[in-house]
Symmetry: C2
Subunit: 199 residues, 2 copies
DNA sequence: GAATATAGCAACCGATCGTTCGGAAGCTAA
DNA sequence: TTAGCTTCCGAACGATCGGTTGCTATATTC
């Protein structure tokens, strides 16, 4: 029925699958992401969808990768030119808030949803999620440490504690935005960040 | 085949279903809670399981109710005799941390998982989850307000902001415990609580 | 003791799950 | 032109999903 597409078109089809898959997964979860649903949404057959990945788990991993790309594009890359240290740390957090505020993905923060969905299981998908979460927290820790060493944050700052609190602020932001639809949540998040990182 | 049980036995069967259902749901999610899986775990037929509820949604609501009962028993009821105001607010939060620390449910905080799973959908299950979350946050606000009026917290305290931060601390605790298995998380949570609520 | 009500089972329903298979269609290299 | 490669489809696979039906065996009610 459907002919072979040019290489460019093929890559485009794969991208369409992963992009739409990320949207679905951000709303329904990575398990709620169904091959049949994906096929129906894209107007193609289930075989055509799964043929690009071979396995649902591979598809899930591709979606996790895409989510990481989106996050990277929307948050860390936007603050790459901000001076390292406290300024960069503040910019990272502000970009993080803005990213959730803008509802880049319809289902809120993909990693929050995926983390709570997979935190009790094993397997490569869980490992990928935990790994990317760890990388981002490491980046936060690095900038926090630079800020401490540069005297921009108190010398006795517990960097791990600070990152813990920052993560809490963002988890709360996602929670109040998605579950309660609270429009004051971003402002609350920014106020908490000011308290943690100074003015 | 299986005979009718006495009323007491019948209630017990229902409790067994809901209890096991809560364990499964805390790990696999409310949608991952499957009637067939439940029946297999309990050594009974699917019809025997669903006969007590009629519908999976009703079963899910029963599980949500049970989760609320467990939480109520484990957290607010344990601090019922603590004097109202800041002392009670602190005790509520400490009981909350201890509840997560003890791993009362194998999958961590049920409401955190259920909230992120259902925050994008509609329906009675989502409403029940959001409602119970709202009740608990209202209880926190009440005690916080009492603490402010009693002069135990600064007069300019933004109570909504405080509850936002408290929720963030607990979400982070659940996150670091479940996804990263960080044993230092409870101590981090307690330190954050001290920062928010004083010594 | 007889009548009634009901908990639970075995079997089954249609739908959907992830996955496999053979083939049709078209691009590309020889 | 031809042979091979690849994308995608239609169809089907067994498994499982939520839910229904008919029945049996017993607890309760009279």
């Amino acid at each position: 029925m459907s002919p072979r597409k040019s290489v460019a078109e093929t890559r485009l089809t794969r991208r369409r699958i992963v992009d739409r898959g990320l949207e679905i997964a951000s709303m329904e979860g990575l398990e709620g992401l169904t091959i049949g649903r994906l096929a129906a949404d894209l107007g193609m057959s289930k075989a055509g969808v799964i043929g690009h990945f071979g396995t649902k788990e591979t598809l899930q991993l591709a979606v996790v990768d895409e989510a990481a790309d989106v996050f990277t594009r929307e948050v860390p890359e936007r603050v790459h030119d901000v001076p390292a240290g406290l300024a960069r740390l503040r910019a990272m957090c502000e970009a993080w808030v803005a990213y959730l505020e803008r509802h880049v993905l319809p289902g809120g923060c993909f990693f929050t949803a995926a983390a709570t969905e997979f935190d009790d299981r094993g397997g490569p998908v869980r490992d990928a999620i935990a790994g990317m979460s760890a990388v981002w927290q490491r980046d936060l820790r690095i900038q926090a440490r630079l800020a401490v060493h540069g005297g921009e944050l108190p010398a006795d700052t517990d960097v791990g504690q600070l990152v813990y609190d920052l993560v809490g602020v963002m988890l709360a932001l996602n929670h109040f935005l998605q579950l309660q639809g609270d429009p004051a949540a971003p402002q609350r998040a920014r106020r908490s960040l000011r308290r943690l990182l100074g003015e």
